[in-house]
């Protein structure tokens, strides 16, 4: 009986290029599973237009209504998404979480990186760049998003290790480059002595980089970015940001589909799948390009 097509719905935080990479990975996994199993396996992409939990909940619920074989979700808000996630399980639609730690008490698999480690890496690297002293700022992403919150918390903890470093400002970009740019510009206006930036999502470091450039602070304000959007890579190439601690979105999408498929066919799945972190620098990018 188990030869019919399987359809998964992928629900990211928001319409965003980073999630396109996740989607690419997910499709790759679906294609190879289709080949391996002979069953038609597809991934449908359903994203909220803004990073708004209630909009995301609506999308989750509407997806449940189509009875897919499983939902792959990147929750915007552990608590705010709770009801929708429970609904999914109640309706018999399996849930796989990606880009996020697993929500407590739910029978789900989580795919992602060690976000705390990712934040810590970025913060430590920035601390080194500014000689372990000075004023720094954190761009917090979507503060309710579990992975963003974890990164922010660990970045703060990392900075706290250095007595001469002070976190003087935090911004919130809600995963929007434009918001990040505005926030960063305003924060640099009110903190002329700012020495460096870290961020908590993929949009944040791009906006920060643009603001640094627009305000003529390149070389004066350091940035260690996050993730590997094209704009981020360009910022590193141009020397606006020194480096980036990047999770691997394609891998997350890939493994999320694998886990969801396992769940759909009744196999046991691990609680957590770690997809790892890359550190991108001008040098590593050149090496990559050379390869």
């Amino acid at each position: 009986a188990d030869t019919g097509p399987l359809r998964f719905v992928l629900v990211p935080k928001v319409v965003h290029p980073w999630f396109d990479k996740v989607n690419d990975g997910a499709r790759a996994a679906a294609d190879s599973l289709s080949q391996l199993t002979g069953r038609k396996i597809t991934v449908e992409y359903a994203a909220p237009q803004t990073a708004d939990v209630s909009a995301q909940n609506d999308i989750i619920e509407r997806s449940i209504a189509t009875h897919p074989a499983g939902i792959l979700l990147d929750p915007l808000d552990g608590k705010g998404n709770r009801a929708a996630m429970e609904e999914s399980l109640q309706q018999g639609v399996g849930l796989t979480i990606f880009d996020s730690p697993a929500p407590e008490g739910l029978d789900v698999t989580a795919v992602g990186a060690d976000f705390c480690e990712q934040g810590t890496l970025a913060a430590d690297r920035l601390a080194g760049l500014i000689g372990h002293k000075g004023a720094v700022a954190i761009m917090m992403g979507v503060p309710t998003a579990p992975n963003h919150a974890e990164r922010a918390a660990c970045e703060k903890k990392a900075f706290a290790k250095y007595p001469d470093i002070k976190v003087v400002a935090t911004g919130i970009d809600n995963d929007s480059i434009e918001t990040a740019q505005k926030q960063a510009a305003a924060i640099m206006q009110s903190h002329p002595d700012l020495a460096g930036w870290v961020a908590c999502d993929a949009a944040g470091p791009v906006g920060i980089g643009q603001a640094i450039r627009e305000n003529g602070r390149v070389g004066k304000v350091a940035e260690v970015g996050l993730d590997n959007l094209n704009d981020m890579i360009e910022l590193i190439r141009d020397g606006v940001a020194e480096s980036s601690a990047s999770s691997r979105p394609e891998m997350q999408g890939y493994w999320a589909v694998i886990a969801a498929w396992q769940k759909a066919v009744g196999q046991k799945t691990p609680k957590f799948i770690d997809t790892g972190i890359d550190i991108l620098t001008k040098a590593s990018l050149q090496a990559g390009a050379a390869r």
């Binding site: 209630s54 609506d58 509407r62 997806s63 209504a65 009801a83 503060p143 309710t144």
Partner: protein, 334 residues
């Protein structure tokens, strides 16, 4: 329509045209017809559409925008617009979070206070508009900045979590399978529609929207009624905001951000004119149902998120065009 038509139609009589004529004669005809068409099309095109679960989630997610639409439609009938209704809803939600979580107030008391806060915001809008004779559109653009800004100041953009479970059923519960927020929407709609259709106060609202000077000359308390309408809109937005908090279990600073244009579009689709004096809250809510169904089927059909805005915008355009085209076609027939 001339007398002859009503007599002639059954004679020529395709039943369908009879129905169409009837619908077009009724002020709610256009929106009802559009709704039926969209509903039937959705049912035919997606097997998931007509399931109980799907209808339930449509009803639930409709409730929030629907409540705001009721208030906005009353203001529009009066010839005003309030672009701060979304911010008021968000502010009420955040205030609820602060009162319940940070100050530990009894959730029900907090709820009451927040709804009153919504009324207060509406009262401020109304008083500024009437006392200073300001232009409500721009005043409320400004006030949306103020109320929305206060949300930011209070929360710094971070949601307030751990809302007490006591009120959760307001957002998540169901009564006989019908989601509680939807029940609340229906109750509010019934009350407002009744007032608008059957009481002097409601008639006065239409009168003011049709000719405010003449209304004042008749001894109608134009300013008091205007202010009252702003208060009503504020209260309804606050209710929507609190229901959203109850549903999410957290007070998000983004609550209400999408409650500004959609209710206006819904009201116009439902036959309310921005120039005042025309339409009804019921029509406006039917307009909101249309928008809600559109959003639902976009996901059901698996339309790419990149195309969603094109599609939903396009359908809004179609929905208002439909009415216009149908009326003109009928007019040409006769």
């Amino acid at each position: 329509m001339p007398l002859e038509t009503t007599v002639a139609a059954p004679r020529r009589g395709i039943a369908l045209r009879g129905i169409a004529a009837h619908l077009l004669g009724n002020p709610l005809g256009g929106v009802t017809a559009a709704l039926i068409i969209i509903f039937v099309a959705a049912s035919l095109l997606s097997p998931y559409f007509l399931t109980g679960f799907n209808l339930m989630i449509i009803a639930r997610s409709l409730a929030f925008v629907g409540l705001v639409t009721i208030g906005q439609s009353v203001l529009m009938i009066l010839g005003e617009l309030d672009l701060s209704v979304g911010a008021i809803g968000g502010l009420a939600g955040i205030a609820g979070g602060v009162l319940m979580v940070q100050l530990g107030l009894d959730p029900w008391l907090a709820l009451l206070l927040c709804v009153m806060l919504g009324g207060l915001c509406g009262w401020i809008n109304g008083t500024l508009v009437t006392r200073l004779r300001l232009h409500s559109l721009v005043l409320t653009i400004g006030m949306a900045g103020v109320y929305g800004g206060i949300i930011l100041v209070v929360t710094k953009g971070v949601a307030i979590t751990s809302i007490p479970g006591d009120i959760a059923f307001l957002g998540r519960g169901a009564i006989g399978g019908v989601p509680v927020p939807f029940v609340i929407l229906l109750v509010c709609l019934a009350v407002v529609a009744f007032v608008m259709q059957r009481t002097p106060l409601g008639r006065y609202v239409y009168a003011i929207g049709s000719n405010a000077d003449a209304a004042r000359m008749l001894g109608i308390r134009v300013n008091a009624i205007r202010t009252g309408a702003f208060v009503t809109a504020g209260v309804l937005s606050a209710v929507a905001g609190m229901l959203m908090v109850a549903r999410l279990g957290s007070a998000q600073p983004s609550i209400g951000e999408t409650w500004v244009l959609a209710p206006i579009a819904a009201a116009v689709i439902g036959g309310v004119a921005t120039t005042g004096g025309l339409g009804s809250p019921l029509g406006a809510v039917l307009g909101a149902v249309i928008i809600g169904i559109i959003e639902n089927i976009i996901v059901l059909f698996g339309i790419s998120p990149y195309w969603q805005s094109v599609v939903s915008g396009g359908i809004v355009v179609l929905a208002i065009s439909f009415d216009a085209i149908a009326r003109r076609a009928m007019a040409r027939e006769n």
